[in-house]
Symmetry: C2
Subunit: 288 residues, 2 copies
């Protein structure tokens, strides 16, 4: 997906949120903001917003020398989600349709995106999750998803954010362990999940865990490691979580199920669905 004009104010806001979490020095903040404005003025709008976000956050890290500005926030999100984990694990066990509920919860966890919302408290998170749990998923899509899982030999699960990754784990627990690989980002970018998050929530208990070698908040294949691309190419089912993976992979010729919550008007327009929609959809290559 290309960068739409509407992404520009959002990228500036995201820059501002991020510089503020990274440094209190107003002169550094101003200097980064001015650099990013210049960079946006010259950017190739055919690239996805995640490519621009990658450039912005590289600049912030380079200018401030802080390689992981969100490290504390990520820990807090993981802890918030881990606290909820046993409750939801039990609800899934007791559910008439465990896969569907686990998928909904994984999508609900997608609210933990500090690229879209700079702050998120526990009450807001629980309200968002409740909202997702009362919004039904398209039954046909759920059936196709279940069938794709049954038929797949190699499942690659692309995680999105820290905190959210705990909810991903709940869904991964419904998938065949021996066929499952979970991928995290290759380096810190906003609050996206990295190998540290996977270790913190012990994701290796339910899947083989790899990183994608990239510091983009999405999956830009050309920017990923060869090892990751190897897994990606041989997967016959890719589960892609969140807006960043959607915007970088939508339209690509792979068998992908996208699980996300629509959090901005640009993605809403692209999917022709309202903001807030709980989405389980797939690429044309994902079903026979």
């Amino acid at each position: 997906m290309k960068t739409f004009f509407d992404c520009l104010p959002c990228l500036i806001r995201q820059t501002l949120d991020s510089v503020r979490s990274t440094t209190d020095d107003e002169q550094t903040q101003e200097s980064i903001l001015r650099d990013v404005l210049k960079e946006l003025a010259e950017m190739d709008f055919q690239q996805p917003p995640a490519a621009m976000a990658q450039a912005i956050h590289r600049r912030i890290r380079k200018t401030t020398g802080n390689l992981d500005p969100y490290v504390e926030k990520k820990r807090r999100l993981n802890d918030m989600a881990l606290k909820l984990y046993p409750v939801f694990a039990r609800r899934i066990e007791q559910s008439a349709n465990p896969l569907e509920l686990a998928a909904r919860l994984a999508i609900a966890g997608n609210v933990m995106d500090l690229g879209v919302k700079s702050n998120l408290d526990e009450a807001e998170m629980i309200a968002e999750i409740d909202d997702c749990l009362t919004t039904p998923l398209d039954a046909d899509n759920v059936a196709e998803f279940a069938q794709a899982i049954d038929e797949a030999e190699n499942i690659l699960y692309l995680t999105d954010n820290s905190g959210e990754i705990v909810f991903d784990r709940l869904l991964m627990e419904r998938l065949p362990r021996e066929k499952l690989t979970a991928a995290v980002r290759g380096a810190p970018i906003i609050n996206d999940a990295t190998i540290e998050d996977a270790e913190y929530i012990r994701l290796a208990e339910v899947a083989r865990v790899i990183d994608n070698g990239s510091d983009s908040p999405g999956t830009i294949l050309d920017d990923c490691s060869e090892a990751f691309r190897h897994h990606f190419e041989r997967a016959d089912l890719i589960i892609a979580k969140g807006q960043g993976n959607y915007e970088t992979l939508a339209g690509s010729p792979y068998p992908i199920f996208f699980l996300l919550r629509i959090k901005c008007s640009v993605i809403a327009r692209d999917l022709n669905l309202p903001v807030g929609t709980v989405v389980l959809t797939h690429s044309p290559h994902a079903v026979a």
Copy 2:
């Protein structure tokens, strides 16, 4: 008031709204957006946001050749407000405190600001007005406002937006006609009221009407005409409507009462009040 970092995403969003109302040609839109990003990267943040908005909208008018992109929207806002005028005129007549109600309505009308909200329908406007009418104003401030009006020899009323100007007229009807001058902007800028709006709503029936000679969405004195500055300097009571007039005049050494609805976090922080607050406040020079 200086431009805060938080104004930057908002200025980009405003640019985007405005280019979209002005031209359907995406290449022109993109070219203006890139130019504005470059300009923001170099701007003097000590200037108020209204100075930047002025530069942005000059650029849009120059690039598109459209000298008044908001002309139809302004007409529509005036018509919406004129439709409500008789109802509110009657309510003020019947009110126990006509001045206070008229002031509240004038502030309520400040919702008609397309710089903050690109679209506004009648239902939203009526909801906003109702909200303002149930939020009380500070009684001390109202008493000081009434006293300042009683004591003033030369009142200058700085209007803000089209549509809103109809609500300003309701307040002006409570002021002594012979001492009252109403000022509009000197040229079209967003949906700010100009002399055409004043004529359309027959403002001359209740005040002497002048324009300020400037195309800024506020009152940047250095940018105003000498004739306007003459009125401004000799006024012993200035009534300044809206955020644009507030951000350009707050802190200046003049006897000003500010009437506005707080519509953004930057003004909220400056006034130390929450977004949405109905504000009647004054400069230290406005009371004896």
